[in-house]
């Protein structure tokens, strides 16, 4: 969408948004209807109950992959602090049932205050 805006202003942004989302959206809705149909019979339900645990694994794998990408590995102190905050946010949301929106806002504020890169030359 941002690329669309850079190429052709607001119209570009709009067409990018529709171009990206429309075809895939239709397929998503069709598949969702198909899945709802599928879980109605025992074989379909068996397939879904086998695929659902994979989703849990996908989510964990994605978290790990993102962690590897975003960490500023050369800044050891910041990397340790960011990892600690990521773990803390898991605990806050799962064990303490903190509001997800609040945790995100806290992450932004904490990041601006503590995760900033050192000034060049310092």
């Amino acid at each position: 969408v941002i690329w669309g805006y850079r190429l052709n202003g607001v119209l570009g942004a709009l067409s990018a948004l529709v171009g990206i989302t429309l075809p895939a959206s239709l397929i998503t809705v069709a598949l969702t209807l198909g899945f709802a149909e599928l879980t109605g019979n025992p074989f379909g339900a068996a397939i879904v109950s086998g695929a659902v645990p994979v989703t849990a694994a996908l989510t964990f794998a994605l978290a790990l992959e993102q962690a590897r990408e975003i960490m500023p590995w050369s800044e050891v102190r910041t990397t340790v602090l960011m990892a600690a905050w990521a773990v803390a946010s898991v605990v806050l949301v799962t064990a303490l049932h903190a509001s997800v929106a609040l945790v995100i806002v806290a992450g932004v504020l904490l990041g601006a205050a503590v995760f900033a890169p050192p000034r060049e030359g310092a």
């Binding site: 879904v48 109950s49 794998a61 990041g111 601006a112």
Partner: protein, 179 residues
């Protein structure tokens, strides 16, 4: 849940996340924890569908919309996810000006570190209902190894899970129900 409530739920999740699966924890909080409209099984299924479908990963919200409110729910989800990218255009200019500032880099790191934690929390929420079923837990662990160690694509792993589900069903091994 009324239509405008649903639009608000999707809009909020979309505004507070930066794409992909990041809106998942917010949606889950509102629809599973908050109102009990959906189950974690519905969520896991929606994510699976989102990953099977070509196009942006964020489209799993359309499946969630469908589970929450039928086709009207899909429409609510579309409105919710379309609005923030248009608002983002204004932010592009501001970001160009501010991108180099240390505190902006820090805040961005704060968001991404939080997103990692929240994704892990979702994985945890998906896993908890499976804990009573060793075969389901085994599928989680095996797919995790395949995904991380061998960097496998999500689609074949999902299909493998579905196949395992069929085989285990034929063998009479109980799995946690999908929904």
């Amino acid at each position: 849940l009324s239509f405008d409530q649903l639009v608000w739920v999707f809009l909020k999740a979309s505004l507070l996340s930066s794409g992909g699966l990041q809106s998942l924890p917010l949606l889950r909080e509102d629809l599973v924890d908050g109102r009990g409209v959906l189950t974690d099984g519905d969520f896991a299924t929606a994510v699976a569908i989102g990953r099977i479908t070509p196009g942006p990963n964020g489209l799993f919200v359309l499946s969630i919309g469908y589970y929450a409110g039928g086709l009207a729910g899909v429409l609510a989800a579309v409105i919710g996810i379309m609005a923030p990218p248009l608002l983002a255009i204004g932010l592009v200019r501001a970001h160009r000006r501010l991108a180099g500032r240390p505190w902006v880099v820090g805040a961005t790191r704060g968001i991404t570190a939080t997103a990692v934690g929240l994704l892990a929390a979702i994985g945890y929420a998906f896993t908890v209902p499976l804990l009573g079923h060793p075969a389901s837990v085994a599928i989680v662990l095996i797919s995790l190894v395949v995904l991380i160690r061998f960097k496998a694509d999500p689609l074949p792993v999902l299909m493998g899970g579905g196949l395992a589900g069929l085989v285990l069903y034929a063998l009479g091994v109980p799995l946690a129900e999908g929904r």
